[in-house]
Amino acid sequence: MRSLAIAAVVLLYVLHQDFWFWREARPLVFGFLPIGLFYHAAFTVASAGALWLLVIFAWPSHLEEE
């Protein structure tokens, strides 16, 4: 699971470079949010998820004992 958590963070770093929505404004999500902006808002929420995996499965617990 530790490797999975680290892989999720690396994958997100790659997914930040979303060239697939580069020149597209539509669809407007909720009627007013350009797709490129919505993607990065969703990316930010996904980052919180990946970081949660990281602190659960890859936490440097040896530091707590020091």
Partner: protein
Amino acid sequence: MIPALVVFAYLGVVLYIGIFAFRTSRSNSAEDYFLAGRSLGPTVFLLSLFGTNMTAFSILGASGHAFANGIVTFGLMASSSALVIPVCLFAIGTRLWALGKRNHFMTPVQMFRDRWECGHIGTVIFAVQAALLVPYIIIAVMGGGTVLRAITNGYIPYELGGAIVSSVVMAYVFLGGMRGTAWVNALQTTLFLLFGTIAVFVIGGGMGGFREAMEALLASPATSPLLTRERISPWYFFSYTFIPLSSIAFPHICIFCLTARNVTYFRKTIVLYPICMLFIWMPSVFLGVVANQATAVPAIQAKLEARAQLATQSAALTPDARAQLRARAAGDDVILRLVDGYAPLWLAALLGAAVMAAVMASDSQILALSTMFTEDIFAFYQGAKRFGPHMQVITGRIFVVLVTAVAYLIALRTPQSIFDVATQYAFAGYASLVPLLVAALFWKNSTKWGALATTLWTASAVAAVAVIQNYIPPPPPGTSIVVWAIGDWEIVTRGATGTFVTGMLPVVPMTLISAMLMIAVSLATKDFAKPSDATLSRYFRR
């Protein structure tokens, strides 16, 4: 008048926080003053760390950048930071906390000196870190003067406004130390979170809904590119992901990592950091983009006209005329203008307090500089031994007063543009110093000579970029001046918005070369400069 009263009430509250922190401090030790006794709880740690990272740019600059460049601002600056900064806190911040607690470190330079068994090289690192930090403090003094003048409609002049804001910051840092600063930063983050969410709903209602505004922006060829990223290159976008690396290398962030009572408090901060980014940056960026449709607000209409003139006549203008037009088109105050145009008075008052909180974000930097001077210079060069440990806190407090006073005097005499450039490239400088932290914490074979090479390279690279920025005027938008080329390959160029290296921000080559120098010089010197086994065993236990 009401916004001005609310701003003064805010200044009174933060001053009281400083006094309260002073009264509640448990001892007069350096650790208590500079690090709040390593005792901050999880909520204050999260809100304050976040607030420490947010400068005036987050609320004002982000919306101004989005006004001119569109939705790309969020991807460039917010979503990348939402991932990279917490990862750095996870990998580096937690280890700094553990080492700091075990070895009683209070600054990164103390750790570097111990880790690489060096003295004066640590002083060089201190000098570079301090030189990159000072412009932020000066900019904040200037911001304080400007904001108070604007909020009181010129009743309080710039000089007096700067003096008032500087005095308040100096007072609560002087009295409350890290505890007072952390509480003020926690209040600041709460204000940002409140303002952003409320502002979107109120301004959206005032404009008659965002749906119509977005459709109108899409219908116009001049504004539709703001809703995509077609005007920038993927390489440029990628290079921005290096900027958030700087966060963990800023001395005030490094030092703040040492203040948590328990390392587990990092957990909540790491997971919730992206959510805080979303709640503060999304309203700023979104409102900045939408402001392009707020033509009913005269001040915004004037900016749009200046931008249109810049786009059509730029090539025929002199550099001075172009700079004036660029200043008129700048959008750093678009949120203020939107609030003027569409929001009720109470929201304007809340915004005034939020803006004041943003420009007062220099508190952590002043305290960090004071901690660094006291620990890395005064105590290291025998001051603590000669005068006793109680003099450390007194020295720290004197330094807080001196730094603030000098920053104020410089702010009165020097054009802001010089410091704007300095802060712009300080991010690249701190990102370029990250290999120091990584090597110290994770690489046994790193040496003090590798650290020196990395530090000197960073200082030279920042200076070189600043020289290019200052001496080569920006060309018209869409064009660039070649500064250095090999054959047809343009390596360094000066564009309308800054300096570029092979089309990317300078931060990318600066950080990569910095890492390579650390590796190459350490490998070349490890036979005679590798620290002793006793030192290494304290850093690498397994």
